[in-house]
Symmetry: C2
Subunit: 206 residues, 2 copies
DNA sequence: AGTTGTGAACTCGTTCACAGCA
DNA sequence: TGCTGTGAACGAGTTCACAACT
């Protein structure tokens, strides 16, 4: 909207875009401290700044990507970095063939130097794009190096100490959500119960 | 658990693994039609089958991946396919350099043949891994070709007709969730209100 | 007139707690 | 005895509806 030169927007317009109820949207934004103007709505640029601050996007967040395969490479070059202070500061991989090569202007470190590199660059966020079998051990090493936030693309539930936040991005889980919706149209019948049940007794006080 | 030879599991054990309350887990599973045994818990293998059926993972789900860059390639070869009847049936790209090459045993089609290929393979799910600017048009073409479920990796909110389910996977959104948690420790203070407020007037009828 | 911010009502998912069954 | 399935209590988040303000 900033790009399009829009300077005010109402809760209703925003709500349509994100697909929620206007009241919900207003209540959520009011948590940021009431930045709308009655009668004309929210000033787009100011709102953007406020939301950015709430998400702490105005800081610099150096990120390490462990695992420079296709996925790691895709993320390192992705449009997602750049927006919001995220910055690929360290890349690491076991494979000697990729160690030393550059991806998006960052040289790939050998896995042995993972901890050192993370500490040097004050890494706050670790992204794991290794094969599944390596992910738990990588997570442990990241945590040992002081990383407290992990984004894991390997299809493995990481076990981590409390205080460490993990987000899981799992292709097959996403696909399953799609097939789940597809196979159960909204308003369709509930899943078949296994046992025959006696017709529901109404048990309401008269 | 099946692999480890575990044959029964209680709601409490499962709840610990997934990090929810045992009662919640039982209620959720009971939607599948009561497959636990009182006294001994759920039979692992049977439960797996039931959950699989509920998620419609026992069917074959041919998938198209549009955009065979690093990300598309990573997904095509990913461990996520194979588990649950997902199968990469079509790959498509605009880039003549990749058209005709094989990724994971599937030849890349030119984008012009997208619709034809989707119809030929009875595609149910489309995965969009193109650059952001291409994603809306790809989505429209997929929908025209009969695809009703879309998994979009481009950082763009797709607008689609009702009846089409879209899931968005967005790196920068995931990172922002991490920084949000990081900058607001649980139990920490709420976000600062902007304006000084008069002490709250109680306005309650006496 | 138009739109926010928010008490109050409401909704729906979560959790308790226990009867019922293996 | 152990654990499920579920009615009932609970509570967090959603929505209504309107006073307050521009």
């Amino acid at each position: 909207m900033v790009e399009r030169g829009v300077d005010h927007v109402s809760s209703t317009e925003l709500a349509v875009v994100v697909g929620v109820n206007p009241a919900t949207l207003r209540r959520d934004l009011s948590q940021l401290g009431s930045y709308g103007t009655r009668g004309s709505g929210y000033e787009v640029e100011r709102l953007l700044g406020q939301v950015g601050r709430a998400l702490a996007v105005d800081r610099d967040w150096p990120v390490v990507i462990v695992g420079v395969g296709n996925l790691g490479r895709a993320l390192a070059r992705s449009e997602g970095f750049g927006s919001g202070g995220f910055r690929v500061a360290v890349l690491a991989d076991v494979n000697p063939a990729v160690v030393g090569t550059e991806v998006g202007g960052v040289a790939v470190e050998p896995l042995e130097r993972l901890e050192a590199a993370c500490q040097r660059e004050q890494i706050a966020i670790g992204v794991i794009t290794t094969p599944a079998r390596a992910s738990q051990s990588v997570a442990e090493r990241l945590i040992a190096a002081g990383v407290r936030s992990i984004l894991n693309f390997a299809p493995v539930v990481l076990s981590v100490p409390s205080g460490v936040v993990v987000r899981q991005v799992d292709l097959s889980a996403e696909l399953q959500v799609l097939t789940f919706y597809r196979s159960r149209p909204p308003g369709g019948p509930p899943i078949q119960k296994a046992r025959a049940k006696a017709p529901k007794q109404t048990r309401r006080s008269p």
